[in-house]
Structures are given as structure tokens and as C-alpha cells.
Symmetry: C3
Subunit: 170 residues, 3 copies
């Protein structure tokens, strides 16, 4: 039997990462943080440090911008619980690397179906604004929407966080 999976969506600065971290800490399991973000500018470095300080020392941090399923497999030791933050940056990184996002997503879905440790995945809701007028942003919005649907269908629990408040969608 596979372990529980949770998908947490929210807008920019909605409190989704904090809610996700609290869900993992509450479990009492050994927390593993898989960071998909790359520190490509100063504001990103600041944000990564801010998140790391908030989490504290008991977390194991793994940085993996692309090979997410490999990172998940390698972090799946008994007694652990994994937080992936976030799918939005993973999709962006895959697009930048000209990887096949749909195929990578299928691998993630397969992993989630059989995981032996609980996993929480965080992502940005980015599809509720005006359709962007540049082609890359539109392609991103379409891919992100598709991945979100697949991941939400595969997970046991789905939350949408607005202004720090989680709503349970599933």
C-alpha cells in the first residue's frame, strides 16, 4: 500500500509553503525538503535563505531543479516525509532545459501512485489572471494547468491556500 500524498496550490505569497511545512512538521516524521528553485538572482537567494531559516535544522535539504523523480526516490527512506517546493519552478526549469514536461509529469504521477513515504507537493496557481500576451508565458500557463490537473487527480488530498487560509478541495 502506498503512503499519503498531498497537493497544495496557492497564489504568490499566499502562505502555501508555510502551510506545507507545518503539515510535514506536524507528522513527527523526518522531514526532507526538495527545493526545485535555482538561486539565479539576489531576491531568489534571499527567499531561499528566508525559507531555510524558517524551516530550521531538523530538515534535510536536497536541491534538484530537473530530476525530481530521482530526488524523490533517493529521499524515500523509512520514517521520512518529503516536501517538494515547488512544481512551478520545476516546470519552468524543464521548459528552459527544453525537456518534455508532459513525460516528466507522467513519471511523477507514477511515483506518486506507489510512494512508500508521504509526500507533499507545492505549486503556484498561475492560471486565474488575464491570458499573457507572450507565447512562452502562455505555454507555461497551459503546461502548469495540465500538470496541476494530473497531480491533483493523483494525490489523496488537495488544498488551495488563499491569504494564508487553506481550503480543502479534495
Amino acid at each position: 500500500m502506498s503512503s499519503e500524498t498531498t497537493f497544495i496550490l496557492g497564489g504568490a505569497r499566499s502562505g502555501k509553503s508555510r502551510f506545507a511545512e507545518q503539515s510535514v512538521v506536524k507528522s513527527g516524521l523526518k522531514p526532507v525538503y526538495i527545493a526545485t528553485g535555482r538561486a539565479f538572482d539576489d531576491s531568489m537567494v534571499d527567499r531561499i535563505h528566508h525559507h531555510r531559516d524558517r524551516r530550521g535544522d531538523e530538515w534535510t535539504t536536497v536541491e534538484e531543479p530537473l530530476a525530481l523523480v530521482d530526488a524523490l526516490r533517493q529521499s524515500s527512506f523509512p520514517g521520512s516525509m518529503i516536501l517538494v517546493d515547488c512544481l512551478t519552478l520545476w516546470i519552468t526549469n524543464l521548459m528552459m532545459a527544453e525537456a518534455d514536461v508532459i513525460k516528466e509529469c507522467a513519471g511523477l504521477i507514477e511515483f506518486l501512485g506507489g510512494t512508500q513515504v508521504p509526500v507533499v507537493l507545492v505549486s503556484n496557481e498561475t492560471g486565474q489572471g488575464v491570458i499573457p500576451d507572450n507565447a512562452m508565458a502562455r505555454e507555461f500557463t497551459d503546461l502548469a494547468g495540465s500538470v496541476h490537473q494530473e497531480v491533483a487527480a493523483a494525490c489523496d488530498h488537495v488544498y488551495l491556500v488563499t491569504a494564508g487560509i487553506p481550503q480543502k478541495l479534495k
Copy 2:
């Protein structure tokens, strides 16, 4: 007595069309699809074909970018159920044609109040991102928001779809 009306809102690639199609198919009634989208580029052609393949042969498809209420009246035969996909493109087309969106919306609301066949209307939630800095996109956001309020008030049921999961708002 008029028949049931349903309004389904969702972000880009949120699964709103699929949820709408399933609602119509489940009814067992003869499904009519009113497409407001114009195939103005290849990606749009692909998407229209993708949607049509998913729906299958039992659907009657009507393409009408502007005269939506006329198309609704002409498709309202006994035993049918109509899906309109989507209001966002209809509003865009009306704006492009310099038509009076508010007046056209009033006609739609009047139709919905007296329809003899069940109708499902789909639209994009586009108002929850940063206010766009070009005037046309702002005007669109304002008009779409106004139309959504009117249609939601007029319909018996309203759903918001996020990551493929419908929430019942009304």
C-alpha cells in the same frame, strides 16, 4: 417553468471544459456544443480539434463567435442540452467587433431566465492576477468580471474549477 442553468468558471487549463462536457453527457440528453472560439492560429486549431475528439460524434457542434443568443435559440429543441464554451472568447469577439458587451450580456441573461432546455456556460476566471498594464486587457477584465457576476446571478448552479476539481459556489 424554465430549465436548469449552470455556470462553470475556472482558470486556464483548469479542467473546466471537461467538467462541463461530463455534466452534459451525464444528463442523457442530446448534447449541443456552441463554440464561440475562432480558429485564428494553429494552436487554436489544435485545441479545437482536441476538444472535438474528446467529445465524440454524438455532439452537434455550432460555431458562433458573436450572435450567441440566436445560436442558443436555434439549438433549443426538445430533448437537447446546450454547452456554451466559452464566454471569455465571446466577450473578446464582441470587443473586437466593437459591439456593446453589456447589451449583449443583457440579452443572454434574458434568454437564461426563460430557457426551455438546460444550458451549461463555461468561462475563464481572469480577474485574480495583477491588473494588466494595457488598457484593452483592463477593459476586458472589467467586462468579463461584470458578465460573470450577471451570469452567476442568473444561473441556478455555479462552479469554480481548480486543478480539475469543481467547487460548488451556488
Copy 3:
């Protein structure tokens, strides 16, 4: 004991202001409207007049683009109920004036914790679209998201309005 506080979030033209006004009117208390918006162009003037006409004569209107907490204190007479519309414009005005948004927000939170009159605050949800590609819009999105989290945590009730329909988040 402090009085009840309510935070109402919604997208552009989602019906959030109307829902907020109705909440205040229903109370039977003397309604005070604190407008943070500046009439910097004709469309803004029109919108302000439209809102004012809808509210009617029994409302006291206070215009304050920056010193929101001062305006709240001065409007807090016994028997009144205050509507602040909206935090989005307040944050924008503070950013334009190069004020410290986080510090101003802390002042607002302190006020809300001890207010002797009921207060309703309205704001735009702007964080659920694609991350904007200009730095100022990104900074705004981040600040607005942080303020929304703080205000939602401080308020007794939180609503999200979509297509005119309020959902109670808290």
C-alpha cells in the same frame, strides 16, 4: 473587548465592494466609507462616482490614500461601522510614496486587534495569475500577498468573492 473585523478578498470586478457595502448596511450602524483610491484618471473618477451613487447619502466618506490607521481612528465613533475600500490601492499608494508597507501593515494589524467599532476591509486578489515580468509588479504582488496573509490572520471573518458569490474562508 474589541469589535468584529471582516476581510473581503476578490478578483477584479468580482462584486467584492458590493458585498462589503451590503454587509455594512445590514448592520444598521452608521456607515463610514474610507476610500484609499486616488482619482488620477477619468475612468477612476467614473468608478468612484459609480460606487458613491450606489452607496447613497447615509454614508460618510473619508478619502485617505496613505494614513489609513489615522483615518480609522478618527472614524471610530460609537455606533459607526467602517468600510475600507481597498487595501490594494493603499499598498500601491504607499509603494508610490516609498513608504514602508510592512511597517504600515503592522500598524493596521495593531489597530484591528483593538478596534472598538466593526471594520470591513476589501482587497483585490492579484496573486493567482502568471508572475509578472516587471519588477515593480512583482514587488507589489509579494507585498500584497504578505499584507493579505497578515490581515486575514488578524480578522474574525474572511471571505473570497468570485463572480459575485462570497465563499467564507474563515
